[in-house]
C-alpha cells in the first residue's frame, strides 16, 4: 500500500496546507514547514460536492510541490524522507452531497486523506457514525451552527475518525481566535483530548508554527501534555493509516501480511470498523487509535471477514 513503508515513525505532520494555484506561495509554506521540523504535510483541496448537476466536481489530487535539493538536505539522512500527501475536504450540507463523498469514487480514492466538513447536525452525526472518512473538520472560526453531542463524537472516536482543529485562523485574527478557542475547548470537553488532529490551514508561511508550539497550544485547548504532542504526531499517523485501510474495503476487513523472508501468515490484525458490535467498540475506544495500526510492510489484502 502507498506510503506504508514511511509511516512507521511518529513524525510531525501538518495535515492542512491549503492548496492553491499560487505555487510560489505554496512552496514557501512547505519550505517553512520543513524548516520548522515537520516531516509530512498534506495539501488540502476543499470542495463543495454536487454544486453542478451530475458528477461531483472533485479536482484530481494536486501534484506535490517541487522542492530543491537544498531544502530537502536534512532528509537525506538515513531513514528519513519528507512526505507530501493530498487531502480532500468536502463540505457537506445535504444528503445528496453526503452520498457524493463515496470512497468508491476513483477521484476521491486518489487522495490520501478524505475529510468532511459538516455544516449541520444531521451531517455531523452522519459523518461521525457512518461516513467513511478519516477526518471531521469543523469550521471553528464562527459559532458552530449546531451543538456538539457526546454520542456521535464517542462513536467517531470508536471508529478511529479524527477531529481537526486548525490554528492558523486563530493566529490571523483576534476575533477568530476567540471562536477557535471557544469551539476547540468545547470539542475537547466531549472527546477528552482523544482523536484530535492539530493542523495549520496556513495561507502564508509566516502563519505556520513549529510542532512543539502547536502541541503547547493543544495544552491550552484542554489536552494534557502527552495528548497534545500526539495531536501533531501519532494522531496524524493514525488518521493516515485509517485512510489506507479505508481504501482497501468498505466494512470489516482483516489484513493478513505476508513476509518476504518467511513465507506464510505472520500476523492477523483486525481493524475496528463501522459495522462491528457497538459494545465491543466502546470497550476498545480507549486504545482504538492504537489498535488499528496495520503492519508496516506491504500488507496484502487476503480475505474479507466479518467479525460477529
Amino acid at each position: 500500500m502507498r506510503n506504508s513503508e514511511k509511516n512507521k515513525m511518529a513524525r510531525f505532520c501538518d495535515f492542512n496546507v491549503p492548496y492553491s494555484e499560487n505555487t510560489e506561495n505554496l512552496r514557501q509554506i512547505v519550505e517553512m514547514a520543513i524548516k520548522l521540523g515537520y516531516e509530512s504535510v498534506a495539501l488540502n483541496c476543499t470542495v463543495t460536492p454536487g454544486t453542478t448537476k451530475g458528477q461531483a466536481v472533485v479536482p484530481p489530487p494536486p501534484k506535490p510541490v517541487e522542492l530543491s535539493e537544498a531544502t530537502l538536505a536534512p532528509f537525506m539522512v538515513q531513514g528519513k524522507a519528507f512526505q507530501q500527501l493530498t487531502r480532500l475536504t468536502a463540505i457537506i450540507e445535504t444528503h445528496e452531497q453526503k452520498y457524493k463523498v463515496n470512497p468508491n469514487n476513483s477521484t476521491i480514492t486518489a487522495y490520501d486523506i478524505l475529510a468532511v466538513q459538516p455544516l449541520n447536525l444531521k451531517m455531523f452525526e452522519a459523518a461521525c457514525k457512518e461516513l467513511e472518512v478519516d477526518i471531521i473538520s469543523l469550521d471553528m472560526t464562527q459559532k458552530l451552527p449546531f451543538f456538539l453531542r457526546l454520542t456521535p463524537i464517542k462513536r467517531a472516536i470508536a471508529r478511529g475518525v479524527h477531529f481537526e482543529i486548525v490554528y492558523a485562523p486563530a493566529i490571523r485574527d483576534s476575533t477568530l481566535r476567540r471562536y477557535v478557542i471557544s469551539n476547540a475547548t468545547d470539542l475537547m470537553t466531549f472527546c477528552k483530548g482523544k482523536n484530535i488532529v492539530l493542523s495549520s490551514q496556513a495561507e502564508k508561511a509566516i502563519e505556520l508554527r513549529g510542532p512543539h508550539d502547536v502541541a503547547n497550544l493543544g495544552v491550552l485547548f484542554g489536552m494534557n501534555q502527552a495528548q497534545a504532542k500526539d495531536a501533531v504526531s501519532i494522531n496524524c499517523r493514525s488518521a493516515l493509516l485509517h485512510a489506507e485501510t479505508r481504501g482497501s474495503a468498505v466494512g470489516v476487513i482483516s489484513i493478513e501480511r505476508i513476509m518476504k523472508q518467511t513465507p506464510g501468515v505472520i500476523s492477523v490484525e483486525r481493524i475496528p470498523s463501522a459495522s462491528t458490535d457497538k459494545r465491543a467498540l466502546e470497550k476498545d475506544s480507549g486504545e482504538g487509535q492504537d489498535r488499528e495500526d496495520p503492519p508496516g510492510k506491504k500488507p496484502k489484502l487476503v480475505a474479507k471477514k466479518k467479525i460477529k
Binding site: 486563530a170 502563519e207 508550539d213 491550552l220
Partner: protein, 120 residues
C-alpha cells in the same frame, strides 16, 4: 551526605525564542521586544496576562533571539501567547520557540544541533 529531590513543577522555565518578521530587514531593540511579548500576552490573556512577570535574560539584536524566564505556572500561557502572535505594528511576524527547559543550563547546548568537528 544529603540528597534533595525536587520533582514536578519547576519554579522557573526558560525559553529560547527567536522573533521573525516576514520583512527580513526589520529589527527591534530590547524594549520593543519586551513590548511585543507584553502585547502578545495582553491580547491573549488580557490585563491579568500582561501582568505576568517575564524576564528577558539575554537579547541579541542582530538575530532577534532571546532567552526568557517565566514562572513555571505561567510557562504554557506564555508559550501559547507567543505562538498566537501574528502582527506587531501591522507587520506580520512570528515567534519561533527553539528550546524550552526548566534548567537554564540545558539551554547552553543541544545535541540536536551538534556539529561534528573534524580535525584539519
Amino acid at each position: 551526605m544529603k540528597r534533595i529531590v525536587s520533582k514536578g513543577d519547576a519554579p522557573y522555565y526558560y525559553l529560547k525564542v527567536l522573533l521573525e518578521f516576514e520583512d527580513k530587514t526589520m529589527t527591534v531593540d530590547v524594549l520593543t521586544f519586551r513590548t511585543v511579548i507584553m502585547k502578545a500576552m495582553m491580547s491573549m490573556y488580557g490585563e491579568i496576562g500582561a501582568a505576568v512577570p517575564i524576564d528577558i535574560l539575554k537579547y541579541d539584536v542582530e538575530t532577534m533571539s532571546a532567552i526568557l524566564r517565566v514562572a513555571g505556572s505561567n510557562m504554557v500561557k506564555l508559550w501559547g501567547a507567543l505562538t498566537m502572535l501574528s502582527y506587531y505594528d501591522e507587520k506580520p511576524c512570528a515567534f519561533r520557540v527553539e528550546q524550552v527547559s526548566p534548567f537554564l543550563m540545558a539551554l547552553a547546548a543541544s545535541s540536536r544541533q551538534l556539529l561534528l568537528h573534524t580535525k584539519e
